[in-house]
């Protein structure tokens, strides 16, 4: 039975839209934006259908497609989604759609901007849907270039110049991917003997069961992957690209980058790190937990003293990634559920944050917190968006952030009680800095200099409505998300159980 | 008896002398001359091999014909370039033409 290749359709819709854009004259700005919006709506609609059609009970990969591509190397164009990747794919398209509308007022070379945006989204989506490591790397590299160009051309210069920000972002990503590449090649070469080598993730995940990876190799290879994915996930001390990068980037790029791109790091750690190299993961887990705690507290405290709105959110996302890392490193099903769900949750809220900051910046031309204030007078809707994102960010129940964080805490508390307590302390500091910016930006006396600034209206409301409703709906009905994620984590249960008992030769650092 | 080795020796010497000139002459025209010397060295080798290894085929001679053709082209274009450079930069000294440096 041939079924409609949904994933390919999703993947190529933005590419198709990009090609259509390429054929349009650059003056047709309205048309360009319209086509970008339609493209992303179609992709989002397809993804949403997939999310709906995914069968929880029959967990594992679904909607699979596979075409051999370079058989000599064991590369095939293999797609498929499970409960881990589907939420992230959904997130990508959701934020992509929101990002298109968040850039609606863009008037500097819109044609190139939207083309690059669509390429970027294809790249990100590709990393999540592929089942082949080679294709994964291919899509990953596809992401880097548009980001660089977009930051350099459409970015903004504040504390650091946009060129610096773009360079830092790109070089960090490339450096990380260099480590990753070495790790991936090591996996590829060691997994199977020549002739039967393959880049297929499922096959690679089998290799350790067949005893093809020694423990030392796993530890070494996992370190490489950790450096790569960790810097992508802004793991301390490889985080410094994140605030600068977001501050320099245009709104849409900040949204996508903080919202989904970072998540490739966490996704990779789980897909490759944990499933392919479980012993390596076990060995490094205590180190990751330690770094993650630093992430949470350090970034939260630094966020507390920032003056630029985007820096606050930049550091806040570093802090939140700490929770993801803790959830990952606690290595039990509850915590991993939480880690994945938290990636989704953080994606939505940070995208909303950046969209709102973008709007404020468009209207007021400043992001300097002491210069802002009382914006709730002029922009009540934007203020609502800020409040939603902020409250989700500090883990308010009833919004999307709470259940993932709680799950992480439950899981992590089991494995690393002391570190978990320190991480939970982070919620106090998170509340401190979030409330600080909410208070200083939104509330306070009316400032006449912002009276000319219009509230979001018409299409500008789309990001707010889209992301805000996801924040609320998934917050009130968390099972929508958790059920999906759980169906992705469930197949890992035997592995995790075995890992728990696995005698570890080197014992795990620091434990 | 004069054999292959003798001719190869002459070819080698000619090549090395040409190379020395190529590396040390400042005047580009002189550099062109040295290149001609090296090409000739190669031709000697080709024809010597043709004579002593495969005398019945004469392939070496064919190749040396091509070499000569290329050499002719090279000297033509080379000299044209020299004129051009001289016209633009007022010099024919190779070490003055260093605007490709850092």
């Amino acid at each position: 039975m041939t079924v409609f290749p949904f994933l390919t359709a999703i993947l190529f819709t933005p590419i198709f839209g990009m090609l259509v854009l390429a054929c349009l004259p650059r003056e047709a700005e309205r048309m360009i934006k319209l086509i970008a919006a339609v493209t992303m709506s179609v992709a989002f609609g397809l993804t949403a259908y997939l999310y709906w059609a995914y069968d929880f009970a029959r967990s594992g990969l679904q909607f699979t497609e596979s075409i051999p591509w370079i058989p000599e190397l064991g590369v095939s164009y293999a797609l498929g989604v499970d409960g881990i990747s589907l939420p992230l794919l959904f997130l990508t398209m959701l934020i992509g759609l929101a990002a298109v509308f968040a850039s609606w007022k863009l008037d500097k070379r819109p044609k190139e901007f939207f083309m690059l945006l669509l390429i970027l989204l294809t790249g990100v989506a590709g990393t999540f849907v592929t089942r082949d490591l080679f294709i994964f790397l291919l899509f990953y590299e596809l992401v880097v270039i548009p980001i660089y160009i977009m930051v350099i051309i459409w970015g903004s210069t504040k504390r650091v110049s946009k060129e610096y920000a773009g360079m830092k972002l790109t070089i960090y990503l490339l450096l990380g991917s260099a480590f990753m590449l070495v790790g991936v090649l090591a996996l590829y070469l060691n997994a199977y003997p020549p002739g039967s080598r393959t880049f297929s993730m499922e096959a690679l995940a089998q290799a350790h069961q067949l005893g093809h990876f020694s423990e030392e190799f796993q530890i070494f290879a996992f370190l490489l992957l950790l450096l790569g994915f960790g810097s992508l996930l802004s793991m301390w001390p490889f985080h410094s690209w994140s605030p600068d990068g977001y501050a320099g980037a245009p709104t849409a790029v900040s949204m996508i980058h903080a919202g989904v791109l970072k998540k490739i790091g966490g996704y990779g750690l789980i897909r490759l790190g944990l499933l392919v190299l479980p012993l390596g993961a076990k060995f490094w887990a205590p180190v990751i937990v330690g770094l993650a705690v630093v992430n949470v507290l350090y970034a939260a405290l630094v966020a507390l003293v920032q003056k630029d709105l985007k820096y606050v959110i930049g550091y806040s996302s570093v802090s939140h990634m700490g929770y993801v890392l803790i959830g990952f490193a606690a290595l039990n099903s509850v915590s991993i559920n939480g880690a994945i769900a938290n990636m989704f949750a953080h994606g939505v809220m940070s995208a909303l944050f950046f969209a709102m900051i973008g709007h404020v910046y468009d209207k007021t031309h400043t992001r300097h917190i002491p210069d802002l204030g009382g914006l709730a007078h002029q922009m009540p809707r934007v203020a609502t968006g800020f409040m939603l994102a902020g409250m989700a960010s500090l883990g308010l129940p009833g919004l999307i952030g709470f259940i993932p964080e709680f799950t992480i805490f439950v899981g992590a508390f089991r494995a690393y009680p002391w570190q978990a307590i320190l991480a939970i302390l982070g919620i106090v500091f998170t509340a401190l800095y979030i409330l600080r910016i909410l208070a200083n930006v939104l509330f306070g006396p009316r400032r006449p200099e912002f009276d000319h600034c219009a509230d979001a209206r018409g299409l500008e409301l789309v990001p707010l409505v889209l992301l805000g409703s996801v924040l609320v709906v998934f917050g009130i009905f968390p099972q929508l998300l958790m059920g999906m994620v759980n169906s992705g984590v469930e197949p890992m249960l035997p592995l995790l159980a075995k890992l728990h008992q696995a005698p570890s030769m080197l014992g795990g650092l620091l434990k | 008896m004069i054999g292959l080795v003798h001719y190869l020796t002459v070819g080698t010497l000619l090549f090395v002398i040409g190379l020395y000139g190529l590396l040390t002459k400042r005047n580009i025209v002189a550099v062109l001359m040295c290149i001609e010397l090296m090409l000739n060295a190669v031709n000697i080798n080709l024809i010597a091999f043709s004579r002593f290894i495969t005398p019945e085929l004469a392939t070496g001679q064919v190749f040396s014909l091509f070499t000569i053709t290329v050499a002719a082209c090279e000297v033509t274009v080379g000299l044209a370039l020299v004129f051009r450079v001289y016209h633009d930069r007022d010099t024919v000294l190779a070490d003055r033409l260093n605007w490709l440096r850092w």
Binding site: - | I2, L14, I47, F66, I68, A72, T76
Partner: protein, 168 residues
């Protein structure tokens, strides 16, 4: 030709070739260099004769000694305004160049000497021209035509370069 005569002729021609080549490199006067180059080419063509490649020898005389040498002299004339006395200077790294070239000669010669050449004992062709002609027009047809195109291109290119393009 007798054995000794041809030996003598070889050494003579080799000496002419090498010495005049050294002269090309060493002379301070560029015109002298060009003339010595022509002499060198003549020596080489003599060697070709000794190798029983008369056609190539003729081509060598025509093209090298005739066209190329003259062209080079022309080049010298057109680009040299001041005195010819020191028109062919050397640069500062001659010593290094000498070292490298010397060592390279040693390497090549040692290879030449050490290689066991499997020479053919067959006599040279009486008349090599038909063979060369046939090879050129059959096996190396494409290369031959390409060479023609190359010559044309070089001609056009040389004209354009020397004449210069009108700046718009």
């Amino acid at each position: 030709m007798s054995e000794s005569a041809s030996t003598l002729a070889f050494y003579l021609l080799a000496a002419i070739t090498v010495v005049s080549a050294v002269g090309v490199v060493k002379s301070h006067n560029l015109v002298h260099s060009a003339l010595l180059l022509a002499l060198c080419f003549i020596g080489v063509s003599g060697l070709y004769v000794l190798l029983q490649a008369e056609f190539i020898a003729a081509v060598q005389l025509l093209i090298y000694s005739g066209a190329v040498a003259v062209l080079l002299v022309l080049g010298v004339m057109l680009t040299q305004r001041s005195s010819m006395a020191d028109s062919n200077p050397a640069n500062d790294w001659s010593r290094w160049a000498l070292l490298i070239c010397g060592l390279l000669a040693v390497v090549i010669l040692s290879v030449v000497a050490a290689t066991p050449w499997h020479g053919s004992i067959a006599a040279a062709l009486e008349n090599s021209i038909p063979v060369v002609a046939r090879a050129l027009l059959t096996d190396y047809m494409v290369a031959f035509e390409t060479a023609a195109v190359l010559l044309l291109a070089a001609m056009v290119g040389a004209i354009v370069l020397a004449k210069g393009v009108e700046e718009e």
